[in-house]
């Protein structure tokens, strides 16, 4: 009986919330929320802990984020709290990934990357239906639940819980076209605002030794062509609608001694990278794998005597990644 009452009350409360939000149920409001979320996640300082679930795995992570101001650049530290100790430290144009097993990798960018406005409203609304569906509570905070539903099968859908006050992402659920949940990310605690001094000390601590430094030469798609980044001699023959090149860079390959072309594409919600490098292994193989939300496809193409290895990685369905990988081809040289 008591349980019945509880359920009725919950329903009542829920229906109140939903009806209260019906007036706001237009996609431009939803688009505004997404935009605000992108701005907040860069422009606010916050710290918190969150869980990440994928398949049968559940992991806890913590994050400290310092917004950019006149004196300091944007800084961020993500710590994996379970299993082997790992952490990510991002500071200006440097990023350190430290792993207990693999040592410290430092990514050094020649210049600060231009910001991709992930969750950009204009782009997103042509390829996703955006709907505000209600109010919920996550990590002790009031959250607006937003559905991001893809209009075709080339991308996944999201359910996003955004902080009502700041629009920061509090919870994210990734669903495939069958409605199956692929991954969940959810804050368990979050505090927004000025970081305390001892937290700042933690944030400023960079790894003392670096085992491997990856120097990256990059240029944004808009600034292209730039002197030190030559255009790649390959092209993607097919891209899902809405995905545009955001950045291209050249970096040492993590698996061979060649340099690898790295291109990142985004539709405002999902992103994937295409890596192309010369292949010496001469072991012709193709493989595809779905690792949680990430699809990874590797493929070889051949031009004359040379073999090239294409790797596509991103939070897109495997079929999309495979289609992109297969479409990569050499650019025909103009005489």
């Amino acid at each position: 009986m008591k349980k019945m009452q509880w359920i009725t009350r919950k329903l009542l409360v829920l229906s109140l919330f939903v009806s209260g939000f019906v007036y706001a149920d237009t996609s431009s409001d939803a688009g505004y929320l997404l935009e605000r979320m992108a701005v907040s996640s860069k422009g606010l300082s916050f710290q918190g802990e969150f869980v990440y679930q994928q398949g049968a795995q559940l992991q806890t992570l913590s994050i400290i984020h310092q917004a950019k101001n006149q004196k300091i650049s944007e800084k961020e530290r993500i710590l994996y709290l379970d299993g082997a100790p790992r952490e990510v430290v991002r500071s200006g144009n440097e990023l350190f990934f430290s792993s207990y097993n693999e040592g410290v990798t430092k990514f050094q960018h020649g210049s600060l990357l231009p910001v991709i406005n992930k969750f950009q409203s204009g782009v997103s609304e042509s390829f996703y239906d955006l709907k505000i569906v209600g109010i919920d509570r996550v990590a002790g905070r009031e959250a607006v639940l937003l559905l991001v539903l893809p209009k075709d099968r080339f991308r996944y859908g999201y359910q996003l819980w955004l902080d009502r006050e700041s629009s920061l992402l509090l919870k994210s659920v990734l669903v495939d076209d069958q409605g199956k949940i692929i991954e969940r990310l959810q804050f368990t605690s979050l505090s927004i605002g000025q970081l305390s001094d001892d937290v700042l000390v933690l944030l400023n601590r960079k790894p003392s030794t670096v085992d491997e430094t990856i120097h990256i030469k990059s240029s944004s798609a808009k600034e292209y062509p730039e002197k030190d980044v030559a255009p790649p001699d390959w092209e993607t023959g097919w891209l899902p609608d809405g995905f545009v090149l955001e950045n291209r860079s050249i970096r040492p390959s993590p698996v061979s001694r060649h340099d690898v072309d790295a291109l990142i594409f985004s539709d405002g919600i999902a992103t994937f990278s295409v890596f192309v490098e010369q292949d010496d292994t001469r072991v012709l193989s193709q493989a595809s794998e779905k690792i949680g939300a990430l699809s990874a496809v590797s493929k070889i193409y051949r031009e004359g005597d040379q073999y090239f290895h294409v790797t596509v990685v991103g939070d897109i369905p495997l079929g999309t990644a495979e289609r992109v990988a297969v479409s990569v081809r050499p650019v025909k040289m103009k005489p």
Partner: protein, 236 residues
């Protein structure tokens, strides 16, 4: 008479194995038989092409590879490989100093490839013989073909593996081998080669998943999801 009868039933069995292997459910032994048979038998090869088309129609896909004779490409690739291996062996004797500067993960992958040798070449490519269809050139003179081969795509094996049976595990390279050239391979060696190939692939994906996380974090300023996703690799 009885011999002819048994030959007939062997053929029927082979066709059945072919159908099974195109569904990606054949055992290693069946694969081997089919690969053997398909090399010798024009009729079987045509059949393989038809099965492939039917299968694709059923699955609602159309294949870009249907008119491409992959088996020819694979054979020439194997042929080519013999030469390359000999070449890279002699090269590694000279280039010792340059190999010292490559990264750790790179070294691992190279070690793996090195130890894979011909076994893996055969293992990773020869399955394509099964799914490579419609031999448009029935008189393959391998060396000549290797030189004249025009398009890059001819050497591409097609992934047939059904992914999705497990959500976060690895589904490696599907492998078979061409027993004509590698009669001495035991199933143990084959399994070993396959596990090495799987491991190298996983290692490669892991390395690139980190690069992708870095790229998208630096680009979008949103590292939470990008880096949380790397935990998916931990249990592999």
């Amino acid at each position: 008479m009885s011999e002819k009868g048994s030959q007939h039933s062997a053929r029927e069995q082979l066709k059945e194995s072919l159908s099974v292997s195109l569904d990606g459910q054949a055992s290693e032994l069946e694969l081997r038989r089919v690969i053997d048979g398909i090399g010798k038998d024009d009729e079987l090869r045509t059949l393989a092409g038809r099965y492939q088309l039917i299968g694709e129609a059923l699955r609602g896909k159309s294949s870009k590879f249907v008119n491409v004779d992959i088996s020819r490409g694979v054979m020439s690739a194997i042929e080519q490989e013999e030469v390359d291996n000999a070449f890279s062996q002699s090269e590694s004797g000279v280039g010792g100093s340059s190999s010292a500067i490559i990264s750790r993960s790179g070294r691992f992958v190279e070690d793996v490839w090195a130890s894979l040798g011909k076994v893996a070449v055969a293992a990773s490519v020869a399955f394509a013989v099964v799914i490579g269809v419609r031999n448009s050139n029935p008189t393959p003179e391998l060396q000549v073909l290797a030189e004249n081969e025009p398009a890059a795509t001819l050497t591409q094996p097609v992934q047939l593996a059904q992914i999705g049976s497990n959500d976060y595990g690895a589904s490696g390279i599907r492998a078979g081998y061409n027993s004509k050239q590698h009669d001495s391979i035991t199933p143990e060696q084959l399994a070993y080669a396959q596990s090495l190939a799987d491991r190298a692939t996983r290692e490669r994906f892991h390395a690139y998943a980190l690069q992708h996380a870095e790229l998208s974090a630096m680009g979008s300023g949103q590292s939470i999801l990008s880096f949380a996703r790397l935990t998916s690799f931990d249990n592999q």
